[in-house]
């Protein structure tokens, strides 16, 4: 049995017929080929699979694809491009906020959500906001620095 769904992802409309048990993470990666979203645990702890659904960061490994019917989703592919990184991606590069890059899409999507919703006035607040995303390479220091820099830029541009 399959169910028809319609989802807007990175500004593009997708129609698909999916099994009810299909995870959103697998739908993005295997059905649509959007492999920028990574799967690090499949049990909701690592945050690598984080995407933005209707304005909120969500773990795509804990979400069924059918639940995304009618939703608007942004994945890492919907941020900047290699030639034109968005502000947060740019700061990740400037601050060396990534090494192997596996946690990075999740960090970016969580970071986008944090930047939209919170003042991020202190490093503690940034660290708290990132506590649901695991990185094994960076020791977090430069990820925190990247988000701090992006928050400062945000504060300059939005009065």
């Amino acid at each position: 049995m399959t169910i028809d769904i319609t989802v807007t992802i990175n500004g593009r409309l997708y129609r698909a017929s999916v099994e009810p048990r299909l995870l959103l993470s697998d739908f993005l990666r295997d059905t649509l080929g959007l492999t920028g979203t990574h799967v690090g645990c499949e049990h909701g702890v690592c945050g690598a699979c984080t995407v933005i659904i209707d304005g909120d960061s969500v773990r795509s490994c804990l979400t069924l694809a059918v639940r995304a019917d009618g939703a608007t989703i942004t994945t890492v592919e919907g941020l900047g491009t290699p030639e034109q990184l968005n502000a947060l991606q740019h700061q990740f590069r400037e601050c060396h906020g990534l090494q192997c890059g596996f946690c990075t899409p999740g960090m970016l999507m969580t970071g986008m959500d944090l930047l939209k919703k919170y003042p991020l006035a202190t490093d503690d607040q940034i660290r708290e906001g990132l506590s649901g995303n695991l990185c094994r390479c960076t020791g977090y220091q430069n990820i925190v620095a990247a988000i701090r820099a992006a928050a400062a830029l945000r504060n300059e541009t939005t009065p």
């Binding site: 979203t37 690592c46 990184l85 590069r93 990534l98 192997c100 695991l134």
Partner: protein, 796 residues
């Protein structure tokens, strides 16, 4: 021939790229979802593999019934050990070591299972969901055998044997000796001792292991995409096992999501995927889910160490003895063997110190748990933990400050090269300079005052130091793992300028987060005289160079960087020869920089593109004999390798209510020689320290007495998040190293120093209660028990 680019002669002399925090070439793709990890591969009509894994820790496989699974929807094939036995040869992790038994590595459990999580049956289906559905239809009948989880028990004469042919569970035993350590300790003014323990860890890269065997029917060839950091070693081993020449077996590590050692050995699943792809003539893919990754990737650091260190009245260490028992798990791994981790502990126990006599004995004992293998630091996080704890215990016993006791014992600048009591030779490195720099950066004196004030207020505040040295960039004279018969002492760089003028540099190293595409290009840019942006580094592909091994053991900057320098110089000389024709000047008068060759002191230049055109396309400009292909290859072998060292300093405070340890300050002063990219070096230190803090405070693989894994998820196996890791200050001492370029390896150091520094800081914080730290991790639960015991003893 163009004139007047902007290079000034003075610029030619100094490195323009090495030493600079150049932004990484890798980042734009990795930041935008354009990277490609193995799990992202999409070969034509790929089939998916799922493994039925053992639920038993040690049992005979009596019967396997796969009939229902074979008939399940979407299932293409089901393989047991028997079904594939004829299709490959087991891979044996041989070694020239005496007293070592090499357990064969097979694609699927054969005859019996030896740990929970061992792969028994492979199901191949049209998608992963269907493959997993079919797993549940497989019936396996086991006859349980005795389970051995404790290495001491496993070493007993009457213990059930994991490998009957070995005749014992002690898979390896060795002893290192210099002088008469027992007599010297007996005669010493003071001695300190302890029984230390580091529990099992999972390296836990965020990307689970993943393999994709892509079958090419036209060439009868397989390309294995693998999340491995040793693609060259995997290629050579599989070529032998499957009897496939390297021309039909290519092994590629594309973007790899971290390894830390867990992807640095050959795995049974890699064999199975290649064997099955060849048999089915189809491409196959498998990615571990987190549970099976934790349960079946190599684990590490499981040792118990009885150690004693003797001192003279001045606080100079004179003799050390240690007995190490390693819980190596059910199999010896390829190529490093099960000796790698525990033997490294005894090799490095004397550390950076001038201890005269030494006895270090080690046993690696098989248990009903997954095999252990390399994990960042290998052996040295434990040897450093033990030696540095003993140093602090002695400092306390002798009434000497911990900083001072280290200063009295470290090898000093004028004493290098220095052979420590275990036989390792340290070349000149800033041992004392790092100690001093860490103390200065942390403002040690002020920290001690802060501690006195905190203590007066009844707070538990402690300061911990740890100094260590490591061998990095190991050349051919030293085996990375004891007695191992493969060459890990060299690396090849092949640099080519093609007919479009593009520069491609190919290496056998295999970056999995270290940013080698950037750092190796920095080295080449300087030594070739090319523009950084024009250089493309290709690595992680067994087809790139004739022989390679990969990236491990802090070797790639030293070996890859050394090969890059030499190959660059060779190619630069070719460019100069062509340019001398084109510019009608003597070869010696040509300078090469910034992608141009120039007649020194003039504005007459040719670009690399023009040089390439003259060599390859424009047949009129050069005499035939001057048309040398613009390619150079160099295999670099540093012969011995080089030392790297650091001192770590941690300040912690313990919350008496929760027994939670908060790391307030963390300083690393390290000497990795000439730094290629300080931004990347700092990142490596941060990440290594975070893992060391995880090992010291949180991480622990827990197996119960029946061999069942109790920490198979990220909820139960806790790695630090951003909240638990402090800001880390890094200070660099760049002392000269003798290897090409003056580089020293540094990828592992953070993890080596941190457990000891944290353990010492905790012991220091709890000194008023008389508590010492002998076991890591110091979880709140363990700390609570230690404090309870100490309090009840104080009351008595």
């Amino acid at each position: 021939m163009s004139k007047g680019d902007s290079v000034q002669p003075a610029d030619l002399l100094r490195p323009r790229h090495v030493g600079q925090p150049i932004r990484r070439t890798e980042d734009p793709r990795l930041l935008t979802g354009n990277g490609e990890y193995t799990a992202d591969r999409k070969p034509d009509r790929v089939l998916h593999v799922a493994f039925r894994r053992s639920e038993q820790a040690h049992a005979t496989i009596v019967a396997i019934d796969t009939a229902q699974a074979r008939a399940a929807p979407g299932v293409v094939a089901v393989f047991t050990a028997e079904d594939v036995a004829e299709l490959y040869k087991p891979i044996i992790p041989v070694s020239r070591m005496a007293n070592y038994y090499a357990t064969p590595i097979v694609a699927l459990a054969t005859g019996k299972v030896r740990y929970v999580g061992e792969a028994v049956v492979a199901v191949i289906a049209e998608d992963r969901y269907l493959a997993e559905d079919a797993l549940e239809l497989i019936e396996i009948d086991y006859a349980p055998l005795g389970v051995v989880t404790d290495p001491e028990d496993a070493a007993a004469a009457d213990a059930p044997l994991l490998h009957d042919e070995a005749g014992t569970n002690v898979l390896v035993a060795r002893e290192f000796k210099k002088g008469d350590a027992a007599a010297d300790i007996a005669a010493a003014h003071t001695s300190v001792r302890g029984r230390f323990r580091m529990t099992r860890k999972a390296p836990l890269a965020m990307e689970p292991r993943s393999y994709c065997a892509e079958f090419d029917g036209r060439r009868e060839a397989i390309t294995l995409y693998t999340s491995s950091n040793i693609p060259g070693i995997v290629r050579d081993a599989l070529a032998e096992s499957l009897d496939l020449p390297g021309s039909r077996l290519r092994v590629v590590a594309p973007d790899v999501g971290g390894s830390f050692g867990s992807k640095g050995s050959l795995y049974p699943e890699e064999i199975l995927l290649c064997v099955a792809a060849r048999k089915l003539r189809r491409s196959l893919k498998w990615t571990a889910d987190r549970l099976e990754d934790i349960a079946s990737s190599s684990q590490s650091f499981a040792e118990t160490i009885e150690a004693e260190l003797g001192f003279d009245a001045d606080g100079v260490a004179v003799a050390l003895q240690a007995d190490v028992t390693g819980d190596v798990g059910a199999y010896s791994i390829y190529p490093w063997t099960c000796a790698l981790e525990p033997v490294q502990v005894v090799s490095f126990l004397p550390g950076p110190y001038k201890i005269k006599s030494y006895r270090g004995a080690v046993r690696g004992v098989a248990t009903s748990k997954p095999p252990t293998g390399p994990y960042r630091g290998v052996g040295r996080p434990i040897s450093t933990f033990v030696t540095e704890r003993l140093m602090d215990m002695a400092a306390k016993a002798l009434g000497i400050d911990p900083l001072e006791i280290r200063r009295r014992n470290l090898v000093r600048d004028d004493e290098f090269p220095y052979r420590i009591a275990s036989g390792i030779i340290w070349d000149r490195t800033g041992f004392v300079a790092c100690l001093d720099a860490a103390a200065e950066a942390a403002n040690y004196a002020a920290l001690r005052q802060q501690q006195a004030a905190a203590r007066a207020a009844g707070r538990w505040f402690g300061i911990g130091l740890s100094s260590y040295a490591e061998l990095t960039g190991i050349g051919s004279r030293i085996a990375v793992a004891p007695g191992m018969p493969i060459n890990t002492g060299s690396e090849t760089a092949k640099i080519r300028i093609d007919s479009t003028g593009a520069i491609t540099a190919t290496f056998g190293v295999a970056s999995h987060g270290q940013g080698l595409e950037t750092t190796l290009a920095q080295v080449i840019a300087d030594d070739l005289g090319a523009r950084f942006d024009d250089i493309r580094v290709v690595q992680g592909d067994s087809d790139g160079v004739p022989m390679s091994t990969g990236t491990y053991a802090s070797r790639s900057a030293v070996l890859g960087g050394g090969a890059a320098k030499h190959a660059s110089v060779l190619l630069r000389e070719k460019i100069k020869r062509v340019a001398s024709h084109l510019l009608e000047a003597a070869v010696d008068d040509i300078d090469v920089a910034n992608g141009f060759a120039r007649v020194a002191g003039t504005d007459r230049t040719v670009s690399f593109k023009q040089v390439a055109k003259a060599v390859y396309s424009d047949m009129k400009t050069l005499p035939v004999e001057a048309r040398e292909e613009l390619e150079a290859s160099y295999t670099y072998d540093p012969i011995n390798g080089t030392t790297a060292c650091a001192t770590h300093l941690a300040a912690v405070e313990i919350d008496p209510a929760s027994c939670f340890v908060k790391v307030l300050k963390y300083v690393v002063a390290e000497d990795c020689g000439r730094i290629i990219n300080p931004m990347i070096v700092d990142g490596q230190v941060h990440g290594g320290v975070a893992q060391g803090i995880g090992a010291a405070l949180y991480e622990e693989m827990i197996y119960d007495d029946t061999g069942q894994l109790l920490s198979a998820s990220l909820v139960d196996y806790v790695i630090p998040s951003a909240v638990e890791i402090p800001h880390i200050d890094v200070v660099h001492i760049e002392s000269e190293s003798a290897v090409a370029g003056g580089f020293r390896g540094m990828g592992e150091g953070g993890t080596i120093g941190a457990p000891a520094a944290i353990a010492n800081a905790i012991a220091d914080a709890l000194a008023p209660l008389g508590i010492d730290v002998f076991e890591l991790p110091v979880t709140p639960e363990r700390l609570f028990r230690l404090i309870e015991i100490a309090r009840s003893q104080q009351q008595q």
